[in-house]
Amino acid sequence: MDAILLSPLDNVAVVVRRLAAGSRAELEEGEVTLDRDLGLGHKIARRAIANGEKIIKYGVAIGSATCAIAPGQHVHLHNMQSDYLPTYTLETERIFRKAAIS
């Protein structure tokens, strides 16, 4: 096994050994070709993920895709982002503005 699935709901799998770009990784759904060198603990797409789709790991959303992602592609900072901190930045600004006005 090259990668493990943490929850059946996940659209990413976690690589459990070092893998070179171009190598074929065996997933539960079949083989995929890797687009990059990958270290332990990195994520790859289990299936095609659309731009804007939630990235699911541990069965929960850990962010959203920022472009279309092909099966086997490395999923990281270049193609996904947090849903959380930007939301909270706006929320914080709102709270602080309200505090500044009152």
Binding site: R17, L40, G41, H42, Y58, V60, L85, Y88
Partner: protein, 402 residues
């Protein structure tokens, strides 16, 4: 009752320690050198150096040093003051003496300066070490232990090996009646709903979620989450991804209450430590590094701290031993001399999560019985304490002693 050792250190206040440490504490950076020189010859003899660098008084740092100086692993205290700093040295001396521990104070400006204070300090340390040898002993049971957990230098392996293994160990310890504490509300961002569903009561659930929302606001204002460049190198992409991995350290027990730094739980169970200050953002980042979090876990009474690391932290701590649980098998091979437990072996088919969980519980018992951890044997005694401000938590978050 599961007996851990028959010769734990019984303090006059009834608390039981697994180490018999003498703490030399400087009360402002200006006293740091003198305190360090006093401690240096006794570094291998259970004398630890701690202190607070600031000159302005601060309620949090006073409460923290009071909690640390009366920690069950601490048998006596030597305070080193310059003389003109803002720290309430008389109050701290009184708090330690009230706990029944021997406590002494040296004021450099009244002692004749650096040389004279170092000489006098070393004489006092020798005398106090002799009195520490006579401390009464008592049986310590597993349910009397307080165990903290932290993750540092996390990577994509932390949340699938070391953290869930610590979670399994916590489940076993909580079942045995022990007190377990997890922390870093900033690393629970994204887990609020699951967190609330684990709360022992709705009131606790509300406090838990509020503490995470506060952390999110605090971090957003500062422009940084609890996310370091090494986390991304190790395969973690977002704060909420790191949070899910970090949260698994807490296991599956109900969360009995919320603590602020220095609060000592009065009954066993699982607690969340809120490390993010209350009120408007001031004094900078909530925790400047992992050590600041470890020190707060110890201030809540932790006898031992379970430290999960993927990238490979090497730190230990003053006062309470740190057990290093290494999540990444490559890191373990690279830093084998700094790690206590090889949790990453799960990824290589050389073990299972329950096996590693059992190994952690067994090591906690051995360390509580006196065996040094790897970082302890290496002489790691990191300590840091800065400025913060907190409001006390309400009674709903402190279940009374059973």
């Amino acid at each position: 009752m599961i007996r851990v050792r028959g010769d734990a250190f019984l303090r006059a206040d009834g608390r039981k320690g697994i180490r018999n440490t003498l703490a030399v504490i400087y009360l402002v950076e200006c006293g740091h050198h003198v305190a360090r020189e006093i401690q240096l010859p006794f570094r291998e003899s259970g004398v630890h150096l701690l202190g607070f660098g600031g000159c302005y008084p601060n309620e949090y740092s006073f409460q923290m040093l009071s909690a640390l100086a009366t920690h069950p692993n601490v048998g006596g205290v030597l305070l080193v003051s310059l003389g003109c700093e803002g720290f309430n040295r008389a109050g701290l001396l009184e708090a330690v003496r009230r706990s029944g521990r021997p406590a002494e104070l040296l004021v450099i400006q009244e002692c004749g300066g650096t040389r004279a204070t170092i000489a006098e300090g070393r004489t006092r340390v020798e005398r106090m070490l002799r009195s520490l040898e006579a401390v009464p002993r008592a049986t310590l049971a597993l349910h009397e232990l307080v165990v903290g957990t932290i993750c540092g230098g996390s990577d994509g392996t932390s949340g699938i090996t070391a953290n869930p293994a610590i979670g399994l160990a916590f489940d076993r310890l909580v079942t045995a009646g022990a007190t377990c504490i997890f922390e870093e509300t900033g690393e629970l961002i994204g887990c609020e709903r699951i967190l609330a569903s684990r709360a022992a009561t709705p009131a606790v659930g509300f406090q838990l979620v509020s503490s995470v929302e506060k952390a999110a606001r605090y971090y957003a204002t500062l422009g940084h989450g609890s996310f370091a460049p090494g986390n991304a190198d190790g395969g973690l992409t977002t704060q909420e991804e790191k949070s899910m991995g970090a949260f698994s350290k807490s296991g599956s027990a109900p969360i009995a209450g919320l603590l602020k730094p220095g609060d000592v739980p009065q009954s066993g169970g699982l607690y969340l430590l809120d490390v993010v200050p209350d009120g408007e953002v001031r004094f900078g980042f909530p925790n400047v590094n992992d050590t600041a979090e470890i020190v707060e876990l110890i201030a809540c009474g932790s006898h031992v701290t379970l430290f999960s690391t993927g990238r490979g932290s090497v730190v230990g701590s003053a006062i309470s031993p740190v057990i290093k649980v290494c999540a990444n098998p490559e890191t373990f091979r690279n830093l084998a001399g700094d790690m206590d437990i090889d949790a990453g072996r799960i990824l290589e088919g050389r073990g299972t999560l329950p096996e590693v969980g059992d190994e952690i519980v067994a090591l906690v018992e051995q360390v509580a019985a006196g065996m040094p951890t790897v970082s302890e044997a290496l002489g790691h005694q990191e300590f840091v304490l800065g400025y913060k401000s907190f409001e006390p938590v309400g009674p709903a978050c402190h279940p009374a002693s059973a």
